[in-house]
């Protein structure tokens, strides 16, 4: 079939040329429309429910809201995990589905179940499904600067900027943080209310009932009609003050008589401070799941520029995090590497092939394969990101293999055939017949070699499947082109030329000849040498650290801080400002810091008042004192070391979210303790944290202090309440209206809704003692002191309640530095098993990044052997004998030797990218082996005696083997020396492949011929020298 394909192409050359042009066009078109992002979308299919119950304590929220909903959701089809975090006034429930689930269907299912439970939830609970975004969807973050109050800035964000940005295609929502949400505040004077015999209830219903516009109907006015409208809605504070509540004894009592009416704000659950200058307001643009990040960022930038004119005088928007920059940078880095690689390959081609025509033909396959790859990526729905473009970069060196073999053979044939009366077309056709099998076998082997990557699951699967797919598409395209376009182009462009070989090959041949002769003469020495190399590699292997993924340098540092759980918002922001000032003084590389403490409006990242994320924007690297990220992190740690009573941790934006998403918490190692009693969970968590802190390599060991939140509990006495003629509801309603405030309608002006809040005086919220002596006004106007209805006590309670699969848990997380992850986890397990006693009913679960590594290792351990079997089958098909297939396969370990040693020498860890490198190395080694053995077999078939066959064959195939190896290696050289974002991921791969190619080529050229000579044929035909 392949032969017929070649025949067809060579006979229909014009058609093929037209097809090539069409391919190029389609590829360009696809490339233009390819969605671009820095990181592939590694988020699982998940649905988030966020519910707010202002003023309710964590345990209340857990028992009345979280638990009922979780019970409903436990039975969802396709559900993989159910996690929830419950904090003061808020709960966030996350359902993770299988990757094959459709997100909209999943949301529908969850929404249905939620609807069914709504009635059971306490009144006043707001919220529902979170917007369709992923944890990686934070695209643009900006703050609002200028001489306006926090309430005004927040109002601007909520009512002007947010609606405008939401119209940008691809934007899921805009999250608001910080500032004050404006309210109209009514602060009743309880004494005055009591004196007039008016209750808070009456006040509230009076306000709620006196705030409406309505249409009354129509009047006939002669022949025309008049529409009647009654206006009674509130529009200002004065309107509020003038409402009459009651008329005891004939005198009207107005709101303004019994209460202070003023501008106020909703109780804040979070705040934002900036660069030591105090509070500001932050907006965060969330991208829709599956959208094109580049396009979204562009759209947002445009819209923000348009908005400038609508903002009031002096107000400006400062963007402090822009995903687009990272995208540009990362993609730019890879593109640069690609271009350099192409240039290097071209140079090498010319050097090896000796004439520019052959180089031209071969080099044409590069852009064509790339364009075909883009076309296929677009068709399958892959985005262009670090990983897929990186895959393309890896493949560059391999893309030309097939073409090289075809062209090289064609050139040989043409050069040796110019005397005979054969048309170039025929020559090429004949030469194709020779090389088709090895080319098809070789390229398909490399394609097969990458198949295991497609079987990876979870996070590593989402990261490396694009790599594998990109490589496979590229190689597949190059194979097809090698069999169709390359012969056609060769026939058109190549001319039979001189019979001489290029300078490089001549020298290489001259160097090689004595070496191969010596090897064939003393095979034992060669075998021993190879054995020693193998032993060395095996000795070195345990010394190489193992980890999951090197972290990409995103250019932005995020510092996470944790303070005392009971800290107030004011104290928290004051401390944040102090920390910001200190860092900016001591580390001049930091251009600005934006700290967000507490929770955001949408509740997507519900941190407590004591948890803050500080985004550090850094100056360009050329302004640093030392251009070393690790050094900068050390400087930051030094600067914060002297701040007592606060824990610090350092991470990066995307990394933070990815970690969080993977196991629900952020850290290299996450230990989850599951059980029922909070106190016991806390104790276990503290014990585990203490043990971890002592291990070498531990860094940023954090456990959320799940106690120490202070509660002022009012234990209501039902007898006392009943005696006074009240109910628990009345008392609690009155209490809540004093602190948190109760809403009594809202004032609508234009498209702005400002809530009306009835609340106690600010003093009340500042002194617990004043609060304990509060007198509550009852519906009949009496003033009841709080002590008459119950006892006020201070009690400690939990800060947050974390649940997984509807069971409570506490979490300890740690980052690892200076040693490999797997070894650290092993130590940790041993230490914790020895020192921490876990009572019955409680269990420990291990998660974090290392679980990805374990999963990946387990999967690969199965798939790679299968892959080897498939390769064996292909080889068997090629050679017809198992012996030779095994011979080629047996060459593989020697090929890996160089990779391991170079990994050890460079100090990099064995990570998934390095493993990908080994896989590529495997493919190239096998390909070279096939090329050699095929040639040997051909010569043998012609009757050449084995020693001669091996010698000649090796020398004949020196050029293609060298070319494959050097081009592959040089194609990866740019990745070796890169420094931009993403280079940390590509570099181990490049190191493995380049180092491995050195050893692999040497071994292929020396050891394989010797082995073939010794073991390549069944016994009777073996000839010993």
């Amino acid at each position: 079939m392949i032969a017929r394909l070649i025949e067809f192409s060579l006979s229909q050359r014009l058609l093929v040329l037209i097809l090539i042009v069409l391919l190029a066009g389609a590829g360009l078109f696809a490339a233009r429309g390819l969605p671009i992002d820095a990181f592939p979308d590694v988020s699982p299919v998940q649905v988030n429910i966020v519910l707010k119950a202002p003023g309710m304590t964590p345990e209340e929220v857990e028992s009345r809201i979280t638990a009922p909903i979780e019970v409903e959701l436990l039975g969802l089809p396709g559900k993989q995990a159910l996690r929830s975090t419950t904090k003061y006034g808020l709960t966030s429930i996350t359902v993770v589905f299988d990757d094959s689930t459709d997100i909209y269907w999943a949301r529908n299912q969850v929404a249905e179940r939620l609807q069914g439970v709504r009635d059971m939830l306490p009144p006043g609970v707001q919220g529902g499904l979170a917007p369709i975004t992923t944890p990686l969807g934070e695209m643009v973050m900006f703050t609002i600067e200028g001489p306006a109050s926090l309430a005004e800035k927040r109002s601007l964000l909520d009512w002007v900027i947010r609606p405008a940005l939401r119209t940008v295609p691809g934007v899921a929502d805009v999250n608001s943080l910080g500032g004050f949400v404006e309210t109209f505040e009514v602060v009743p004077d309880l004494v005055a209310l009591g004196a007039r015999g008016v209750s808070l209830d009456t006040l509230k219903s009076a306000i709620a009932a006196n705030n409406r516009n309505d249409g009354a109907g129509r009047l006939a006015d002669g022949e025309e009609a008049l529409l009647v409208r009654s206006e009674g809605s509130l529009r200002s504070l004065d309107d509020l003050r003038a409402i009459v509540i009651a008329t005891p004894g004939g005198t009207p009592v107005r709101v303004g008589d019994v209460a202070q009416v003023r501008d106020g704000g909703l109780t804040r659950y979070g705040a934002v401070t900036r660069s030591g200058k105090g509070e500001t307001v932050e907006g965060l643009v969330l991208g829709l799941r599956g959208s094109n990040a580049q396009a979204v960022v562009e759209g947002v930038r445009q819209r923000l520029a348009e908005l400038k004119s609508q903002l009031p005088q002096g107000i400006s928007l400062t963007v402090f995090y822009d995903r687009g920059e990272l995208v540009d940078h990362a993609v730019g880095t890879v593109t640069e590497a690609l271009l350099i690689a192409v240039a290097l390959v071209l140079v090498l081609l010319i050097l090896f092939l000796g004439e520019w025509r052959a180089a031209l033909v071969v080099s044409l396959t590069l852009p064509l394969s790339a364009l075909a790859t883009f076309l296929l990526m677009r068709a399958v729905g892959l985005t262009a990101n670090l990983m897929s473009l990186g895959g393309l970069a890896i493949a560059i060196g391999l893309l030309v293999d097939g073409a090289v073999v075809v062209v090289e053979n064609a050139v040989e044939r043409l050069n040796h055939a110019h005397g005979r009366p054969m048309s170039p077309l025929t020559v090429i056709y004949r030469s194709m017949a020779e090389v088709t099998t090895p080319v098809v076998a070789g390229v398909s082997i490399i394609v097969v070699v990458f198949l295991p990557l497609l079987s990876l699951e979870g996070l590593e699967g989402k990261l490396f499947r694009p790599v594998a797919l990109a490589i496979m598409f590229a190689l597949g395209a190059s194979l097809l082109l090698s069999l169709t376009a390359v012969p056609v182009l060769s026939s058109l462009i190549l001319k039979p030329g001189h019979a001489g070989e290029p300078w490089l090959i001549r020298h290489a041949g001259r160097l090689y000849a004595p070496l191969i002769r010596g090897a064939l003469a003393r095979p034992v020495r060669v075998f021993i040498g190879a054995g020693v190399a193998l032993a060395a590699a095996l000795a070195v292997f345990p010394l190489v650290g193992k980890t999951f993924m090197p972290t990409m340098d995103e250019g932005t540092i995020v510092m996470q801080t944790e303070k005392l759980p009971t800290v107030s918002l004011a104290a928290s922001t004051a401390l944040d400002t102090l920390i910001q000032r200190r860092i900016m003084e001591q580390v001049p590389e930091v251009a600005g810091i934006v700290s967000r403490v507490g929770s955001d409006e949408l509740g997507l990242d519900p941190m407590g008042l004591n948890e803050a994320d500080n985004f550090l924007t850094l100056k360009p690297q050329d302004q640093w004192r030392r251009k070393d990220k690790a050094w900068l992190l050390d400087q930051l740690r030094l600067a914060t070391a002297d701040i007592p009573g606060i824990s610090f941790g350092f991470t990066q934006p995307i990394d933070m979210r990815v970690q969080e998403m993977v196991s629900g918490s952020r850290g290299d190692l996450v230990v989850k303790i599951k059980g029922a009693d909070i106190a016991t969970l806390n104790r276990l968590a503290a014990d585990v944290a203490a043990v971890l802190k002592e291990l070498t390599g531990s860094e940023d060991v954090l456990t959320t202090l799940n106690e120490g939140m202070q509660y002022l509990t009012l234990r209501l006495d039902p007898l006392a309440i009943g005696r006074l003629g009240l109910t628990v509801d009345t008392v609690e309603e009155a209490l809540r209206s004093q602190l948190e405030g109760t809403q009594a309608g809202s004032v609508v002006r234009g498209n702005r809704r400002t809530p009306i809040l009835i609340r106690g005086p600010a003093d009340l919220a500042r002194a617990p003692q004043v609060f304990a002596n509060l007198t509550l006004p009852m519906p009949d106007g009496r003033l009841i002191p709080l002590s008459a209805v119950g006892r006020v006590e201070r009690v400690d309670g939990p800060v947050l309640l974390s649940r997984e699969e509807a069971r409570r848990q506490s979490v300890v997380r740690a980052n690892v530095r200076g040693r490999d992850l797997v070894g650290y986890v092993a130590d940790a397990r041993a230490a914790i098993a020895a020192k921490v006693s876990v009572p019955a009913g409680y269990e420990l679960a291990w998660g974090g990044q290392f679980e990805n590594q374990q999963r990946a290792a387990a999967r690969l351990a199965i798939v790679i052997p299968c892959c080897l079997v498939v390769i064996f089958v292909i080889l068997y098909g090629t050679f017809g004998t198992a012996r030779q297939a095994l011979l080629v396969l047996g060459n593989v370990p020697f090929a890996l030797v160089g990779g391991i040693i170079s990994l050890w020498l460079s100090g990099e860890y064995l990570s998934v990218p390095a493993s990908v490198g080994f896989i590529a190395l495997l493919g190239i080694a096998v390909l070279n082996g096939v090329v050699l053995v095929a040639c040997f077999n051909q010569l043998l078939a012609r009757g050449v005696p084995i020693v001669e066959a091996v010698l000649q064959g090796a020398q004949r195939r020196l050029r293609p083997v060298l070319m494959t190896a050097t081009i592959a290696a040089f194609g990866l050289l740019p990745l070796l020396f890169q420094t931009g974002p993403g280079s940390e991921v590509q570099r181990p791969l490049a190191i493995v492949v380049v180092g491995g190619l050195v050893s692999s080529t040497v071994l292929t050229l020396l050891v394989l011929p010797a082995l073939y000579q010794r073991f390549g044929l069944p016994r009777p035909r073996r000839v010993t020298p």
Binding site: V191, A192, G194, A195, E562, K563, L564, T566, V567, S568, A571, S572, A574, L575, L578, R582, R637, A641, D642, I643, P644, G645, I646, S647, F648, G649, F650, A686, L692, K693, S698, E699, D700, V701, L705, G708, Q710, A720, R723, L724, D763, L764, R766, A767, P768, Q769, V770, A772, N773, T775, R782, L783, I784, P785, S787, A788, R794, D796
Partner: protein
């Protein structure tokens, strides 16, 4: 030279003793400050920890309780008519300040005419009896009549005189002045007009009748009150009432006037379970008005040295109120007792507090964080 032989075990005993003492001494500092933290100046500056010396607090105020000002009943006077009559004119206006004896209202009453007539009749009768007694005295002197008759007429004259005095008092009681009685005596004109006068000085608070109205002595024609002292009724939870004493000083929420506890109620209001404490407020400045609702707190003195600190300085450690005191590089947690608390200041008592203690007033949350084990990274 003789040496007094010491028992042989002295040496080892001394050694053992010093060793034990040393060990005990080494342990003692740990027990004294189990929770001492180390805080260098750099750390304090970095975390914004500030200290201040505590201020002596002369008195300690309790929390405030709702209170209502009222007229002190001893200073209240109800002015009524002694006899039924009809009101002619109201002279006193509400809110007037009147002195004792000032004219408040004019009335007319038949009882007045009757009393005047009775007086005049008594006057005539007394004059007659007097002349009789005189004639009898003359006759006795001439020996014409028996002394017994003179005694009888003298006693009759005394009776008539007494009756005259009684009638005269009745007229005075009806509001006539002595001058007016004389005028009546001379003019012998009976009228029925009455003048109602203020029995005590004070402020007219209210009047209870209108001109032309027929009233009797049960109608409060005018309500007068002296407002130089007011009664403050404070509703206090029963448990708190037990701690109060008479003569305790009371501070009003928004007025500088002096006030002292007059008496403490014996029964509690079943509806709100509070006890009414009666407090006398000095209102000579005249700023306070009865009927106002306000709040009051009770001052206690003589509790020992009390210190006033900003509210932010007091924290709870293991449930007990504590302050942090900086001594050089160390920060100690000193337990205290909270005497009173408002939104801005707290009055406390504690053994570790002195006039020169450096009490942490800002940054307590950081110190508590240190105690909780937060800090740094590993």
């Amino acid at each position: 030279m003789t040496r007094s032989p010491l028992p042989r075990f002295t040496g080892p005993a001394l050694l053992a003793f010093t060793w034990l003492a040393g060990a005990a001494h080494a342990q003692a500092p740990q027990q004294a400050n189990p929770a001492a933290l180390t805080l260098t100046d750099t750390q304090a500056k970095a975390a914004g920890v500030e200290t201040r010396a505590p201020q002596p607090a002369p008195d300690v105020a309790s929390p405030t309780y709702p209170a209502r000002l009222d007229v002190f009943e001893h200073y209240k006077t109800i002015v009524a008519t002694p006899v039924p009559g009809i009101v002619d004119e109201l002279v006193g206006e509400v809110n007037d300040a009147v002195a004792k004896g000032a004219l408040l209202a004019r009335m007319h009453s038949p009882d007045m005419a009757q009393a005047q007539r009775d007086y005049l009749m008594a006057l005539d009768a007394a004059a007659l009896a007097q002349r009789e007694a005189q004639r009898d005295a003359d006759l006795v002197a001439e020996g014409i009549i028996a002394e017994r008759r003179q005694q009888a007429s003298r006693s009759a004259a005394a009776q008539a005189d007494a009756q005259l005095q009684e009638r005269r008092q009745a007229l005075l009681a009806l509001g006539l002045t002595a001058a007016e009685v004389e005028t009546l005596k001379r003019s012998r004109k009976v009228t029925d007009g009455m003048a109602v006068r203020a029995p005590e000085g004070g402020m007219i608070l209210d009047h209870g009748a209108f001109p032309g109205q027929r009233i009797d002595s049960s109608v409060p024609l005018y309500t007068l009150a002296r407002l130089s002292s007011l009664l403050l009724e404070v509703q206090v939870p029963a448990a708190v009432a037990a701690t109060l004493h008479e003569k305790d000083k009371v501070r009003l929420a928004d007025a500088p006037e002096d006030a002292t506890v007059e008496s403490i109620g014996h029964h509690a209001d079943p509806a709100s379970q509070t006890v009414t404490v009666r407090v006398l407020v000095d209102n000579r400045a005249g700023r306070l008005r009865p009927g106002l609702m306000t709040a009051a707190s009770f001052l206690s003195t003589g509790v020992g040295t009390a210190w006033s600190l900003p509210h932010d300085a007091v924290v709870r450690v293991a449930g007990r109120p504590t302050v942090f005191i900086r001594r050089g590089d160390k920060v100690e947690a000193a337990p205290i007792a909270v005497l009173s608390e408002t939104a801005d200041t707290v009055v406390v008592q504690g053994r570790g507090l002195a006039a020169d203690s450096a009490v942490v007033v800002r940054g307590t949350v950081v110190l508590k964080g240190m105690q909780a084990g937060l800090g740094g990274q590993e």
